[in-house]
Subunit: 335 residues, 3 copies
């Protein structure tokens, strides 16, 4: 019995750490994706942002964010407690006394959480690419990763009001992607379009990605990392039911991405007469985001359909954006 | 006892999922390898093929292929059964009643199998690079991943006639690589050489890879992914003997790749007076393919030799191809 | 009891193998980092070196090095014993009789050790990039990986005199990085500066990296691989205390890298007026190296500070090198 608790704790902690490492790897995915899609002259800048935002996210979330988001995790709090920064973790006695209810290392939880914050900030970096200065961007990273993300994360995952209302968010479609996306939208509205995107008469100049192999590599990295992102969000793997759940999450995550690619390519072919690489990559990412709110409930077939809807949506979103917000999007051309 | 079955099931499932994720990562490896070796103008096309073939493979194998290849996996079949697409998996009662004979999630098995199919199709995409249209290629992907691969896979892994005859294929030198290779050869014979490969008088124009860092990255990704490909094919890790077996497979896979690199470089140096990067990369891949039929039986020393033979063979295969099939290879120049 | 020993052995072996695979992946990281930082004309050469040094390291360490470094590991020795090359490993009886003291596969230990050797040699390849011929470099790789590394590694990890004196080196700041760094320094002193680095009057010509996305990718790969490098060096994960330790090592490794990035960027901004991508990348690597000697003792906060000191040091080391060793560094220009 006691040995089984030891082993389960070790297995769940290991599973958490590997999942976290896969999510950390998504930082490389965002970097390559964004570096591949900007103009060559802006490559170094977007890379600098991605490396440094990850570092800022780690430090700010350790110092402030984690404690705001999970006030109940006494063992890991330092504010007002200081145990976390002293490296304290569950003791053997505590774990055994819990009878297995405490089933992974508190440090591994912090590790898994801290890489999620960086993901949210990476979404912002992609959106404001080519139009925001480095230090201003990093200042915003301090605010988002230290305060904005943790506060809205607390609403759901920390036991706040959204959680009380029964809001469901398995792996962070809302907490991570919508948080990052909303911040990104705010940034884009403030900053206006990229210089050169719109001509003096409002005509649209496409800005093709400068390095498509990098963008493709970035997408594959994100696809791989998403197994950790969604798979790790089950939080436990050490019994038969939990292992089945994690396996279903892996399968659904993969099928949703695949459905997104196929749907985006067919939609683009029907709509524009051809399907290009950018559509395939956007389709994969749309499928992955689409399944992230609930990758455990659907069957693999349904997950493919959910991903496919994401893939269709992403293709339509391009002409829609042009129709709906022409003034906003052309602002840089006007000003 | 019961707890030990739970833990073993969880560990084997986790090991299967991580192995599968490493094999999924090979899709990125093939993409980078192939994108690095084609001419710059064809980069986007080969990337599009690689992303979309992976998606097609996942969907076709889920809908049709898995059921053709493993008809006995009742829990995962939907055709005639529908349990798999409904997300059904082994119940706790079934696993405990089996006394540990059912030792991993059925979903994790599907995940591990589905990424293998994509690998076979990736081999085709590399071979027909620069000479096949996107949608024709994807139509063939539908047929190969939905029908051809599963039928010949059934012969061995599904319990078909090859298995009955005692045919041995640990991780898929035959089922995966030979299947993909045979389809690739058929495609190449039909399509002829790449335009520009042979001049009007039959002279050979080398087509150097346009982006060697990408090709190198792709090879390293494949090398890493191969630990999942071969290591996961042991199917179980949860006792001392199985853990030793998986460890030996990791070591042998690594040593065979290393032997392939060294042998290819020395052979090229002796044969052509110099060893270049392409030879080193081909040597690694040849070593990895060479050990895949049986990475568990040989000692590490013998595995190095097996990989080395693969590395020698790959260097000799280039002049051999030129001598043996000049007509075939020059067809595009003639037509 | 017996089942628990089986499971713990399997879990520890799996953890060791996954850690080793992450360290193997660092070979790709060094390749991309070095390929990104050299001039475009030298890319293929540095890539060839990185692929082939990995292969040489694996074969030499298997044949000679492992036996020099760990003479006590009878089960894995072949010289004078031959059991290792015959693929022998711990038997079930031996493991059970040990009562769990033998807790992972001997083969998995070899796998984890062999990828470390390649890491040390990769450090050399980066330092002598653009100034050493391929076959001379590989000849040195034979000597370093077969003899130099194992002999000094024995001093500490094999139970030699440094270990007897109480020297502490958790994951190889000394055994791996200092060994590689010392060899690299010797090489650089012998070879002199890169051609073109110094003008005829001693003026310094900066040699910017030719491909910064590759260098960034390489840094992220190294960051990811370092979780295996440091995390695996705890050697065991299968009980509560060990799982907590591995989790702390993951967190500290990550925080130290993050601290390095931030400190390097701020230092560069204060010192040179701007922070560029190279500084951020160097900061991350400096933070990672800084924590590797002892990633288990410090708290996460202290680990951030340790990494930060590394990040400051790396920025100052550039002008220091120019002040302290101008003669050495300019030798190529003089000769």
């Amino acid at each position: 019995m006691e040995q089984a608790i030891h082993l389960a704790y070790a297995l769940d902690t290991f599973y958490f750490l590997i999942s976290g490492a896969l999510v950390m790897w998504m930082a490389a995915g965002f970097s390559m994706l964004e570096a591949g899609l900007v103009r060559a002259k802006n490559t170094a800048e977007i890379l600098t942002k991605n490396v440094s935002l990850f570092a800022v996210a780690c430090v700010m979330y350790m110092l402030v964010g984690y404690n705001i988001m999970y006030p109940a995790e006494a063992v890991n709090s330092w504010w007002p407690g200081i145990s976390f920064l002293l490296g304290a973790d569950n003791t053997v006695e505590e774990v055994l006394a819990s009878g297995g209810d405490t089933y992974y290392s508190g440090m591994s939880d912090f590790f898994f959480q801290v890489v999620f914050v960086a993901t949210a900030m990476s979404i912002v970096s992609g959106a404001v690419a080519e139009r925001m200065k480095l230090w201003a961007f990093l200042a915003f990273a301090v605010v988002l990763t230290g305060f904005i993300y943790p506060i809205q994360g607390y609403w759901k995952w920390g036991g706040g009001f959204l959680d009380g209302l029964g809001f469901s968010d398995f792996a962070g479609s809302g907490v991570v992607h919508m948080c990052g996306g909303a911040a990104a939208l705010a940034g884009v509205l403030l900053l206006g379009a990229r210089k050169g995107k719109y001509g003096p008469k409002g005509e649209i100049n496409p800005i093709p990605g400068a390095n498509m192999p990098l963008a493709t590599l970035g997408t594959f990295i994100l696809w791989l990392g998403w197994f950790g992102f969604n798979g790790g969000s089950e939080l436990k793997i050490s019994d038969i039911d939990e292992a089945n759940a994690v396996a279903l999450v892996f399968v659904n995550t993969n099928m949703s991405a695949a459905g997104g690619v196929i749907a985006a390519m067919i939609t683009a072919k029907l709509l524009f007469g051809k399907a290009d690489l950018t559509m395939a990559l956007n389709g994969a990412l749309a499928g992955l985001v689409a399944i992230t709110a609930e990758p455990l409930t659907p069957t693999p077939l349904l997950a493919t359909v959910i991903g496919g809807l994401g893939g269709i949506l992403v293709v339509f979103s391009i002409p829609c954006l042009r129709l709906c917000c022409p003034t906003v999007m052309r602002r840089s051309a006007v000003s």
